[in-house]
Structure formats: structure tokens, C-alpha cells
């Protein structure tokens, strides 16, 4: 009996229980931060643990979700895409219909409420495509808390509609010129700000990465996506979905969709990374899991794009939201355990998928979920017609119009 128990204990009986109390998902995660931040991270952990145990906190989140963000987001049967692809029955989880146009608001509502509980008077955040920056600026405007957003100078240029929205919402925008001027560099600068202004400032991280408890906390706030899919699919089809697909930069929308299904072994799960110009092009992609190796950056151990000397590479994607050289640690663990299949989609494939969806469904997706769509286009025809496939349409394409038009040679 005792030896059986030990054998049993060595086997994984849940994918949904992590992280451990030190913040690790197997090898990945943890808290690798400078001493100045460590006491604050521990404070945050305590505050979040207390908030989770307080029914009032969840009630506030649910209220704002319903009345402010527009939850639940619809689960939409994409009939023409389904007919065109001739395989799985395709559903879109319409998180692009949330207030601010992406799934990012789910996390920002949770974290702004936590920051208020902690008595913090200033918010900082990093942003890549600007979707997270807009969501942060939005909740800060709603609660009258000053905020500063760090955004790579390259991204400021290619995501100008979001830049204008953030400014209009009253956020102070700090363009970051170090490195390649993208999300990684914005995160470095946000961390520098935090180290300097650590006492009054709350760092509202936008993805399921960073030091513990951020990966678990962001996942918890985003898990509303998968929880709603469970209920909605039961209502629509009387059973759980068979296949889930979502795009991965840091991986917050994906973990939000996946997490409530991790222990349903019948559900096949695909995470889609940015393949950029192709995995064989050196520094030409942002697929940290399919084209990187484990390392330590921004407070956690995870798969990273790096050279043989442990220097971080910049990565590339047509999508500013996906060109982060790392990924949330829970995804790294799900990759190594084999629970989730991670694949890469190129810029070109994503652009094509965006057009297919736009013309067949009348929905212009952001470039980020267009990567997930491209995977659906590959995968659906190989699946039987009774396979229920859900793709998370995590952001809308307005912000990408200039980029897309440029690539397609349109004049606007």
C-alpha cells in the first residue's frame, strides 16, 4: 500500500493544481527577483491569498465583469468557416467583444481591485501591442489612479491607435528605446521603475509570466474564459469541447482558456506561438517553446529565446503582442509534461488567416488570434465533423489595420 501510494504520488493526477508554494510549476516559475523587490513580491502574494479567500473580492470582480467589461463573452458558432474547412465544428470564444477589445480587461479588473486593497496609489505596466496598456489605462481612469505605461518605441510606432487611446485615458506613456524597443525592453523598464518606486507603486503585469504569484494570479483572472466555455458549450452541445486552440505570446489568453480543461483528458489542446519568418530563421521568430530553451528572465524560469551564452534574443513577429522572447511558466510546464501541444504559425499564415476570417465571418481579428486561426485552418479539416473546436478570439483587429494594410499593399 505504502509503495503503491508513493508510485501514485510520483504520477501526476492533476494539471490544474499548480504552482507549488514557492511558485514553481515543475522546473518552471519561481521568484527570481532583486532583493529590493522580494519583500514586495511576498506582500503581494499574501495580499492575493487573502483576496482569494474573501468572497467580497470575487463578487466585485463578477460585478465589473458583468456590468463593465461585458462578460460573459459569446461562444459563437463560425458556420461559414466550418463549412469552408469541412471538418471540426468551429466555435469562437468572442473575447474581442470585451470592453477595450481584448481579453486583457479580465486581468486588469482583478489586479486593480487587488492594488486598491493593498492601498497602492500608483500603477505601472508594460505593454506590447497596447491592448494591455489600454486595459490598464481604462481601469486606472475608472478608479482615478495615476498610471504610467512602458511601451517599446517600435511598438509605439506600429500600434498608434492604442497609443492614442492610452493617452486619451490619461495614462502617461513612456516609450522605451533600449534594445529593439519592444515588449521585453518595456518590461525591463517597468521593473526598473518598480525597483525605484517600490513602496507606493503596483506593477500590473499583463501576462501570465513574471515572478510568483503573477503567473498564477493572471491565470486565475483569465480562467473566466475557459469556465464560460464549459458552461456555454454544455448549453450549445450538451457536452465539453474536444479541441481548444489559442495563441501564445506570454500566454495569458491561452492559459485562461486551457486551465479549466487541463484535467479533462479527452480535450486536445493547442497553443500557437509566433513563427515569424520561420523557425529556421535565426532570431526571426518569437516561438520560445518550439524554438527556444529553458532559462531565467523577468523573475521566472521558463522557455526563452536565447543564445548559447544565455543572452536573450529579441525575437520577431508581425504581431506586437506575440514578440516576447519568453512565455508564462505554466505553459513551459504543460509543454514538458506533454499535456498541451505547442506549434508555431508564421507571419504569412497569420495574415492569410486574418483575411479568411474577415471575409467568411465578418469579423476582423487582431494579428495575435490570427495565429490561432491559422492553426484552426490547418487542424479543422483533419478532424471529424462532430469534433467541437473552440478557438479563443482574444482581440479585435482595429489596432492592426495599419500594419495589415501595409503588408497587403493597401493604401489607407
Amino acid at each position: 500500500m505504502a509503495s503503491n501510494e508513493r508510485t501514485g504520488a510520483a504520477k501526476l493526477n492533476s494539471f490544474a493544481g499548480g504552482p507549488d508554494d514557492r511558485g514553481f510549476f515543475g522546473l518552471f516559475g519561481g521568484r527570481f527577483v532583486a532583493e529590493t523587490l522580494m519583500p514586495l513580491i511576498l506582500d503581494l502574494d499574501r495580499a492575493y491569498t487573502a483576496a482569494k479567500a474573501d468572497p467580497e473580492f470575487q463578487k466585485q470582480i463578477d460585478f465589473l465583469g458583468l456590468h463593465y467589461a461585458g462578460r460573459p463573452s459569446p461562444l459563437y458558432h463560425a458556420e461559414r468557416m466550418t463549412a469552408e474547412l469541412g471538418g471540426a465544428k468551429i466555435y469562437f470564444k468572442r473575447d474581442e467583444l470585451n470592453h477595450t477589445g481584448s481579453h486583457k480587461i479580465n486581468n486588469c479588473i482583478g489586479q486593480i481591485l487587488l492594488a486598491r486593497r493593498m492601498g497602492k496609489t500608483r500603477i505601472i505596466a508594460e505593454t506590447g501591442a497596447g491592448q494591455h496598456g489600454v486595459a490598464v489605462a481604462t481601469v486606472c481612469a475608472k478608479y482615478g489612479i495615476p498610471c504610467e505605461i512602458y511601451m517599446g518605441a517600435t511598438d509605439v510606432e506600429r500600434q498608434s491607435p492604442n497609443v492614442a487611446r492610452m493617452k486619451l485615458l490619461g495614462a502617461k506613456l513612456n516609450p522605451v528605446t533600449s534594445g529593439a524597443g519592444t515588449l521585453k525592453d518595456a518590461m525591463n523598464e517597468a521593473l526598473r521603475d518598480w525597483v525605484t518606486n517600490v513602496r507606493d507603486t503596483y506593477y500590473l503585469i499583463g501576462t501570465a509570466a513574471g515572478p510568483h504569484p503573477y503567473p498564477a494570479m493572471v491565470r486565475d483572472f483569465q480562467s473566466i474564459i475557459g469556465q464560460e466555455v464549459r458552461t456555454q458549450m454544455q448549453e450549445a452541445e450538451g457536452r465539453l469541447p474536444d479541441t481548444l486552440v489559442a495563441c501564445i505570446g506570454g500566454g495569458s489568453n491561452a492559459i485562461g482558456l486551457f486551465h479549466p480543461f487541463l484535467d479533462d483528458s479527452g480535450v486536445a489542446i493547442y497553443g500557437v506561438e509566433a513563427g515569424g519568418h520561420g523557425l529556421d530563421v535565426e532570431n526571426g521568430h518569437a516561438a520560445s517553446m518550439t524554438g527556444g530553451s529553458p532559462g531565467v528572465l523577468h523573475g521566472n524560469r521558463t522557455y526563452l529565446l536565447q543564445d548559447g551564452d544565455g543572452q536573450i534574443l529579441e525575437g520577431h513577429s508581425i504581431s506586437a503582442g506575440l514578440d516576447y522572447p519568453g512565455v508564462g511558466p505554466e505553459h513551459s510546464w504543460l509543454k514538458d509534461t506533454g499535456r498541451v501541444s505547442y506549434v508555431a504559425i508564421t507571419d504569412k499564415e497569420a495574415l492569410e488567416a486574418l483575411q479568411v476570417c474577415t471575409r467568411l465571418e465578418g469579423i476582423i481579428p487582431a494579428l495575435e488570434p490570427s495565429h490561432a486561426l491559422a492553426q484552426v485552418i490547418k487542424l479543422a479539416p483533419t478532424l471529424p465533423k462532430d469534433n467541437l473546436l473552440v478557438m479563443n478570439l482574444c482581440g479585435r483587429g482595429d489596432k492592426d489595420l495599419f500594419t495589415v494594410a501595409k503588408h497587403l499593399g493597401m493604401k489607407i
Binding site: T196, G295, I312
Partner: protein
């Protein structure tokens, strides 16, 4: 540790002479390997009591613009961890006494392999490690193996390190304690001496280790003032800025590069000596 390390010996000797330690920081390979090795070779004679040698990293999140730029110059010039260890080995062949502490971030060490790194660092003549993003909570990863191999592991204490946390920070620390005098990045505003004094006293009440103070010290005068509250000072960004300002139009080293860095070290050292 049973045998005293080079750091233990150096701090004991300084205490006997009633002198405060000048700890100097440069980034290995900045602006190029040859110049950096020349600066390293001249530091002790110029008055550095302990040498902190930065292992360049692409994303030095806790460092300010000067040190970040120095890392970028070094990486651009082709610096690697292997070359940094080789620099220490060369230095050690001609100087058996000046302690060298490698300072950097975890990822390059993690990719090199912590066990292999510790063995190679020890063999090269490294005395201690400061790894900014490995907190006491992760001591099993690097700190304890380093201590077992006979390397000192120097921990940072900061203004946010409260009373209840200090014992955890000090527990596996050896060589010396590095008190970061401000909340912020390297090279930021100068610290307030009175605040630092209080904190250093609190640390010294809990450990017999020497405490050196760093972050934001740019001049001999500041060094002098802050050295009074601890056992020494660390100067980094100011030296690295000297390198930056001495470079030619294409970012190349000039005859002034080595000279100006070492001359600032001399100035700092003499400010500390003039009691």
C-alpha cells in the same frame, strides 16, 4: 567555511589598518576585452581593495543606463562568460591577493550550468559571487553549491529588507554584505547618509560580516561620507561612465579609457585614506 577566503583576509587586514574598503565595479569586456583586461590589471595598484567584475547580460533589470550600456558594449565586442572567467585567470596569475567577485544575473550562469560555472569560477581564482536575481528563497540553486565549493556568496540587503526578513538574507551570506543604499537602479540619486547609517547599524547588529555600501556613489567626497557608516563603499556606475565618456567616435577605446578610470579609482582611494 574553515579556511578564511581572500575576502575574509582582505577585510581583516583593512580592519587592522582601520581603513575602509574601496570596492570597484567594471563590466568584463567593456569596451573590449583587451582594454577591460588592462583596466582590471591596474585596479589594485590604483587603490581598489576588492574588485567586482560584471558578467554582461542583455537584460540587466536592476541596473541603470550606465551599466546597461556597458553590458551592451561588452556583448557587442563579443564578451562571453568563458572569456570573463579567462580574464580572471589571467589576472590571478599576477595578483594572488586582491579578491575578485563576479557580479551578474542568473540566466548566463543557468545556461552555462551552475555546477560547472562554480567549478570553473573557483578554478579561475574567483572569490565570490553576487547574483542579483537569485534571492535567498532559491539558495539551493546556486548559493549553497557555491558555499560548498569554497566561493563566498554575497547578498544584497536593501532599504526594503525589513527586520523580519534580514535573518533570511544574512543566513547563507559570506565574504561581506552589500547594502544597497537606495531603492532604485544603479547609478541613481545619491543616498542619504543618516538613513544608511541606521540600516547598516541594524545589519551589523545581526552579523559579524563587513558591510559595504553601494549605489549612487560618484565622488571621493560621497565615498568618504558613506564609508564612515560601514566597512567600505562600492563604486560602479561612475567608473563605467568614465569608460563611456572616454570612447572615440566609433565607440572604440582610446588611450584615455584606461587612464581615466584608474585615475578616478586613485581619487576615490585617496579620499578614503585621508582620515
Amino acid at each position: 567555511m574553515t579556511t578564511p577566503s581572500r575576502l575574509d583576509i582582505r577585510f581583516a587586514n583593512l580592519a587592522k589598518q582601520k581603513r575602509k574598503a574601496l570596492v570597484t565595479f567594471i563590466t568584463a569586456g567593456d569596451p573590449d576585452l583587451e582594454t577591460s583586461a588592462a583596466i582590471l590589471a591596474g585596479l589594485a595598484e590604483a587603490g581598489a581593495d576588492v574588485i567586482e567584475l560584471g558578467m554582461p547580460f542583455s537584460d540587466p533589470m536592476a541596473d541603470g543606463p550606465s551599466i546597461q550600456a556597458s553590458s551592451q558594449r561588452a556583448l557587442k565586442a563579443g564578451q562571453t562568460l568563458v572569456k570573463t572567467l579567462a580574464m580572471v585567470k589571467t589576472f590571478r596569475a599576477s595578483d594572488a591577493e586582491t579578491p575578485i567577485v563576479l557580479m551578474g544575473y542568473y540566466n548566463p550562469i543557468y545556461v552555462y550550468g551552475p555546477e560547472r560555472f562554480i567549478a570553473d569560477a573557483k578554478a579561475a581564482g574567483v572569490d565570490g559571487l553576487i547574483v542579483v536575481d537569485v534571492p535567498p528563497e532559491a539558495d539551493d540553486e546556486l548559493c549553497i553549491p557555491a558555499l560548498k565549493a569554497g566561493l563566498n556568496f554575497i547578498r544584497l540587503a536593501t532599504p526594503t529588507t525589513g527586520k523580519e526578513r534580514l535573518p533570511a538574507v544574512l543566513q547563507n551570506t559570506s565574504g561581506f554584505v552589500y547594502y544597497v543604499s537606495i531603492t532604485g537602479i544603479t547609478g541613481a540619486a545619491a543616498p542619504v547618509v543618516n538613513d544608511v547609517q541606521e540600516r547598516v547599524a541594524a545589519i551589523k547588529a545581526q552579523t559579524p560580516l563587513p558591510v559595504v555600501v553601494g549605489f549612487g556613489i560618484r565622488s571621493g567626497e560621497q565615498a568618504k561620507a558613506l564609508s564612515a557608516v560601514g566597512d567600505g563603499v562600492v563604486v560602479g556606475s561612475a567608473l563605467v561612465s568614465k569608460i563611456e565618456k572616454s570612447l572615440g567616435s566609433k565607440g572604440e577605446a582610446t588611450p584615455a579609457t584606461t587612464r581615466e578610470v584608474l585615475s578616478l579609482v586613485k581619487e576615490l582611494s585617496s579620499a578614503l585614506s585621508n582620515g
